[in-house]
Symmetry: none
Subunit: 198 residues, 4 copies
DNA sequence: AATGAATGAGCTTTCATTCAT
DNA sequence: AATGAATGAAAGCTCATTCAT
């Protein structure tokens, strides 16, 4: 990412791509549509991204990094594992609420990850970081005696699963899921599954 | 569904489509590839399904109905809400194990559900039936005093979320998730979240 | 080449491609132009040839095979090496006269043979067969004592070089070369270089 | 050609273009590639040459003029028509040997000469000068009684044809032609075709 | 004199769909 | 009931050319 203008253009294109994909789906979003929405010519996209695949990779990375940054910043304020874990859950849901587009896009883009190799790569960029954050909190909680002694990775997986699973239901029908209540339910579930009675 | 031969052909095409989509992704699966794999001509697919969209709808329905039938049959054997719920969870995971292809296809096909309208339709065909099954079990459990008095729909959502969330992680990296352990963890989580201490 | 219709279509497309390339050059002949001239849709070309490269390969092969067939048929009538060799030369020039398009196309297509590998392949399909025909005649002539004892391959190369070299000058300016005189001159040159005085 | 810097820049670009075209072919050599190889920006090429066509014209001229200068300088040393002619042949082959790139480029660029008009222009810049040089030598030889009394233009054409024809075979497969032997064979052929027995 | 971001026309290629057989 | 040749719209991508800096 050499020049400033390059960074700005790439950002602009990635953001426009997210909106377009969220609105119409990856399959129905040709580069020309992204260009049209961004008010630029088709060529610019190829100029900066080389291929549609590369653009999509950038879109996915952007979405995931943004969320990770948001969550990291939030949990950093938590004073102990219990609080951090609850903050992670709450923040995940509040981030959804204000960034629906991103999740519409990402669920859609799962369909663009076609090969086994790409899936593993996506996994490494997507789930592993989340599970690692959760894993660290859980491990710390267990060590400090705040949490029950459970399998760290598995517990991270299941907590993430609850969040993602709710997200998906919400994506397919926003009216079916009240994110606030969902957050509370997940918190409660985690509390009784993981927290030691104090 | 007029004749027998029609039913057989449609079944054959739908099954082949599932394999092809699971293997290469919806985006990379032209009708010609499905025809090739099925050993028939392209024309037949259009003849029976009218459009690729229609075929995809049939594929999705088939996958969801198969799973629903499997789960319904299993939970029917459960003698009480607790058992039924545990059976639902276990069966969901065991069904995953033996039908990976179906889940690879369905996650991929999410990307082909592009409009708001289609999403709602998919939701109605996919999540509502599952949540209804779960809802019934939960309601019964609460009424019989086996379960804590929780919001039925929300609880159904969260249980389904755990299952779906684990499924997704497993789809993107099978080696990251041990389905058997995952099933046990979900069961345990549900036990402590919903079951009354006996 | 399965069906009859396939053969006809491929022939039609290849022939049209030769005309188009001869007229406008490979660089300025998009598939759409070939389709337009043939009165078919662009898709058909891809349908039968897969790629433009494949079409070009077929064009080259067609041109070379046609010429080789023509020459082979002609020299078969020659009764002895001397006569065969003179027939080869005369026929090469008379074939040029009536098939200018083919030579315009082939000279143009040299520019589409870009890699070292493709060049060697072209060489094998183009020059080797000609040099082999000539080589056989020359070898026979030497053995029978009609020809001077010269290096067979080199002599074949030099005779082919005269023919090709004249062809190129003729392609770039038809009015600069009188093919009939050119043929006689090449014959005369070969006579004094190779034939034993009788 | 106004300033010195302009001349240097144009030379640099033309030389780089020759290398690039020889390596990858005209079709696969965008201006950006030439710019990259020359370590300059794309804009400069347009700045100095106006269009790609113009650059190509310059490339062709450069190649032909270089060769012509080389040959002219060599034959100037010849003391009589016979010697001059042999020097022309030998020098043509030795020039090939040390400038393969140029010939790879020129054969490739034939495909970029698409219109009848361009072909005539190329002819005038390429073959006519060579045939003129040869023609002058031959005419002088005939007048001085060293050569047989043959058609001057035709004889020039045939000698040039031998050289060019060998060159082409050598371009498509360097291992098929030994330039030194080729040169000797052409000399020998010319000797018996044109030289009077002394 | 030089850059390189931006353009957009034009290319090859893919593929759902149609339809004569 | 089935075929597969044919269509043509639409896609991704390339690249000569322009132009503000």
């Amino acid at each position: 990412m050499a020049s400033l203008i390059e960074k700005i253009r790439k950002d602009q294109i990635v953001n426009t791509a997210i909106s377009a994909i969220a609105a119409n789906g990856y399959v129905n979003t040709p580069l020309s549509e992204i260009a049209r929405r961004a008010g630029i010519s088709k060529g610019v996209i190829s100029y900066y991204f080389g291929s549609k695949d590369d653009l999509v990779r950038n879109v996915i990375d952007r979405i995931l990094q943004d969320e990770k940054a948001y969550l990291s910043e939030k949990i950093a304020r938590g004073e102990n594992p219990k609080e951090k874990l609850l903050v992670y859950i709450r923040s995940s849901f509040s981030y959804m609420e204000t960034n629906r587009q991103n999740f519409e896009a990402i669920v859609d883009l799962w369909g663009s990850i076609t090969t086994h190799e790409k899936k593993l790569d996506f996994n490494k960029r997507s789930y592993d970081p989340c599970r690692n954050i959760l894993g660290k909190i859980i491990r710390e909680g267990i060590e400090k005696g705040e949490f029950a002694d459970r399998d760290v990775r598995l517990t991270a997986s299941i907590i993430q699963a609850m969040i993602d699973g709710m997200m998906i239901q919400w994506i397919f029908d926003a009216s079916a899921i009240d994110l606030e209540k969902a957050s509370l339910a997940v918190e409660e579930s985690v509390r009784c599954y993981l927290f030691k009675k104090s």
